[in-house]
Each structure stands twice: as C-alpha cells, then as structure tokens.
C-alpha cells in the first residue's frame, strides 16, 4: 500500500470458482482491491490469471463465489452488468480495436452510445486522450494503418474515454514486437501515477516491480502470493514463485 490513509475497496471477490469442462481454472479465489491501487497479476500460463481478470467484467461468468464491484454484485442481471461495464475498462492482449472505424470513432463510439455524449463533446475528449497517448495526428486513420504499439495505446485511450474507475489490462504487451513494448509501458506508467485503479496481468516483471503497489502470483487457479513487489521479487515465500521467477529471469 502506497499511502497511509485507508482507501475504499472497489473490487471484492470472495471464493471465486470457475471450470472449463474438466479443467478447474479458478479455485476459491478471494481478493480485495482498493481505489488507486496498481496490482500486477503474474504467474505461469494456464494459471488462471487472465480468467480471473475476465470474470471481473463478466467476459467469463464465474461458477461460484461472489464478485462485488463498487458496491454492485456482479450477476447476469443485465442492468447491473451494464452499470459495471461502464465503470470497468479493459485493454486486451490483441487490442481489439474496431477495425471498420477510424481511430477517432473507436474512441467516441462508447461515450456516444453508452454515456449519451454529444458528438462534439465526445470528439473533443477523444482528441485530448489521443494527445495524452501521443497519437493525436493519427485520429483519421484506421487501426490497420497503425503499428501494434500505437494500436495498444489507442486501445488504452478508448478504455479511458469511458472514464472508468478501474482499468483491467490482459497481457497488454504480449502481442507486441519487442521494440514497441516500451511505448505502451510508458503510457501505463503515466496512468498508474495518475491514481486510477489498475489490475495488470503481465509478463513484464520490470514493470511489475517498478510501477505496481502489489503483486499477486497465480498458480493452478489459486493465489499463492499476495504481497508487495519488493518482497515478491527479492524474497518470494513460495517454492512455485521462486521457480517461476528464475524461469522468467532466465530470458534476460
């Protein structure tokens, strides 16, 4: 925790379970995330970290347990779901920009449709956000004309256009060429210091160590470690975490 004051809990999960057929992806996962906190979620592939993130805005429905987002219990009730999705932004591994719309329209679509913003206001806001991620000059282009790193920065701006309280990042740099990773991390770093609540599933250990307030280590559908970056990287408590860290460090 970076500050002394007790922040408000914004996401609470209690005993989340999720199965895909016979595969037990999440087993009784409980965690609370506070406003303004930046959490890095790490772990080997197939450990359930992405599934956990995707249950938080119900791109995957959990089988058991309870998820409360900003005081609303997540369920199939469509009104609750729409209310939650307005407050929780998501950035995907493969960007998922709307390929038939210009960059500007990608940013204005949801504010105009969901928040009922006027076009002029939505466009002004979109241009400000594009300036923030350094892509103001690309507003009239289509996603396919941009590099991967640029597309991911647009995707972040698109999520921000809805003024979410929480931003979920699902391996935001995993699909990028190495030389484009830093431009995306730079935008995320700037965001983290702006005080927005972030949950980042990532393989970027440097980013996790430098930017996150908290590191959660997933393995085989359970949270094995939930601690500060300092203690996770210098003194991991669990054997599995030590093995994971030595493997990801091997690549450096």
């Amino acid at each position: 925790m970076s500050s002394e004051a007790i922040p408000r809990p914004i996401i609470e999960t209690r005993g989340i379970g999720k199965r895909f057929g016979s595969f037990h992806a999440l087993k009784d996962v409980s965690a609370t995330f506070h406003e303004g906190q930046v959490t890095a979620i790490v772990g080997p592939s197939g450990s359930g970290k992405s599934t956990f993130l995707r249950t938080l805005n119900r791109l995957e429905a959990h089988d058991s347990g309870e998820i409360v987002i900003d005081g609303i219990v997540l369920s199939d009730d469509i009104r609750n779901l729409n209310a939650i999705r307005r407050e929780v932004g998501m950035v995907f591994q493969s960007f998922n920009l709307f390929s038939h719309l210009t960059i500007l329209r990608n940013l204005t679509l949801a504010p105009m449709r969901v928040r009922r913003m006027a076009r002029a206001a939505a466009e002004e806001k979109a241009m400000n956000l594009l300036e923030r991620v350094g892509l103001k000059t690309q507003a009239g282009k289509y996603p396919v004309q941009l590099s991967g790193g640029q597309q991911q920065r647009v995707a972040i701006a698109r999520a921000l256009a809805m003024d979410p309280k929480v931003l979920l990042f699902d391996e935001p740099t995993s699909a990028l060429d190495p030389e484009m990773v830093n431009e995306v991390l730079a935008v995320m770093r700037e965001l983290a210091y702006s005080g927005i609540t972030m949950l980042v599933v990532t393989h970027e250990m440097g980013f996790a160590r430098e930017v996150a307030d908290r590191v959660i280590f997933f393995d085989e559908g359970v949270i094995l470690e939930d601690t500060t970056p300092e203690s996770f990287f210098s003194n991991p408590g669990h054997e599995r975490a030590r093995a994971f860290l030595s493997q990801v460090r091997h690549g450096y």
């Binding site: 469509i78 307005r86 709307f98 038939h100 679509l109 969901v114 289509y142």
Partner: protein, 252 residues
Amino acid sequence: MNWTRQHPGWAMFAAMIGLLLFLWGMALPLAAAPAPIGPAAEQFADGARITVGLTLIAGSAGVLIGVLAGLGKLSNFWPLRWFCDSYVWLIRGTPLLLQILFVWLALPTIMPAGVELSDFTCAAIALSLNIGAYNTECVRAGILAVPHGQVEAARALGLTPVQTFIDVILPQSMRVALPALANNLASLVKDSSLAYAISVVELTMVGYRVQAESYQPIPVFVTIAAIYLILTTAFTTLTAALEAQLDVGQKR
C-alpha cells in the same frame, strides 16, 4: 473495376444516375431503331422498369430477410433457430417458379377477404422470400467471420447486445457477406423474368410478345439480352463500389 475501387462514391453515383437515365431515356434511341424494335420502344422501356422495380423491391426486402433470418439461425432460442432453418430448407429445396405460382394462386385463397394482391405484388413477395433464403446463409457466414475479440471489446465498453450488433458486428459482417449478396442480386435481376409466368409484363414477357407479333425473334431477343446486360452491369458496379467502401480498414 480499378476505377470503381479508387472512387467508390463516384462509381455508386455514376451507376445510379446511369441506371435512372437508362430507364427513363431508353425509349428515345430505341424508337429510332428499325422495326420490330422501334415501334415497340415504349414497351421495352416499361418492361425494363418493371424488371428493375422487382429487383429493387425484392433485393431490399431480401437483404432485410437475410439479416433477420441469418441472426435467427445463430440464436440461442431453439424455436427461432428451427423456424429459420426450415425456411431456408424449404425455399432452397423447391423451384422458384413453383414458389411464384404458389404465392399467386395459393396465397389469395388463404388471405382475409378484401385483401387484393396484384400480380406484381405476388411476384415481389415470392422473389423476396426466395433471395432472402439465399441471403440468410451469406449473412450468417459474415457474422461468423467477425472476430470474437470485437464483440468482447464492445461488451467490455458497456455497449448493449443490440448496440454491439448494429455498430460493430453488422458493418464488419457485411465485408464478408457483400460479395455473395451481390452475386444473389445479379441472379435476381434475371430470376425476376420468371414473373412472366403469372402475367407480370416484365422485360422477358415484353420480348416474347414483340417477337410473337413481328415473327422476328433474333433482333428482339438480342435487344432484350442487351438491356439485361446493361442492367446487371449497373447493379454490379453499384455493389462493387459498396464493397470498396466497406473495405476500408481491412487487413489483407
């Protein structure tokens, strides 16, 4: 066709103006032709207008039916899926001529008293249902071709399922569906000739009558064929331009 790709807006405009000029103005040059064409010029023009009218009405209704039934076939609600499956199965499995005769002869007997269907209306209904069934499969293929990530991105931004369909899925599915829909439209221009069987005086019927009066089938049928060629060329230019316009932002 290269010019069509580079200037889709102009190509659509030119095709539309060309079609209109041709329909309203063709009687003038035809009237100057020697017998048997010249004296029947007005009949040719009327027949072409009926053919184009049938094509435009059945073409538009067919796209609407195709989108609705294509969605229905992908529905989770089994009675709807069953209904749409049966519709496509029935229409594709029976001859168009039979369908036209059925609507013309059988429909009036089951219609409430006082409702009169003209021959033209009967032909339009049968042709709409027929092309709609073929369009259904094209639209379904188009919807299935939209990457799932696009839907996830839209839902994560808080768009409702209906908004997601209208703003994201439908425009992207049309990129895949349009070439096949254009193919069906080109068939429809010519299939509309079967309306002659229920005494709709469309282009082919005009040709049949004029050659029966003049005993000169060669010049008459050559003229009819030329008019069909001009009509299909106008329609395919129109759809090719539409395709080029939907193609923006597409990967290749």
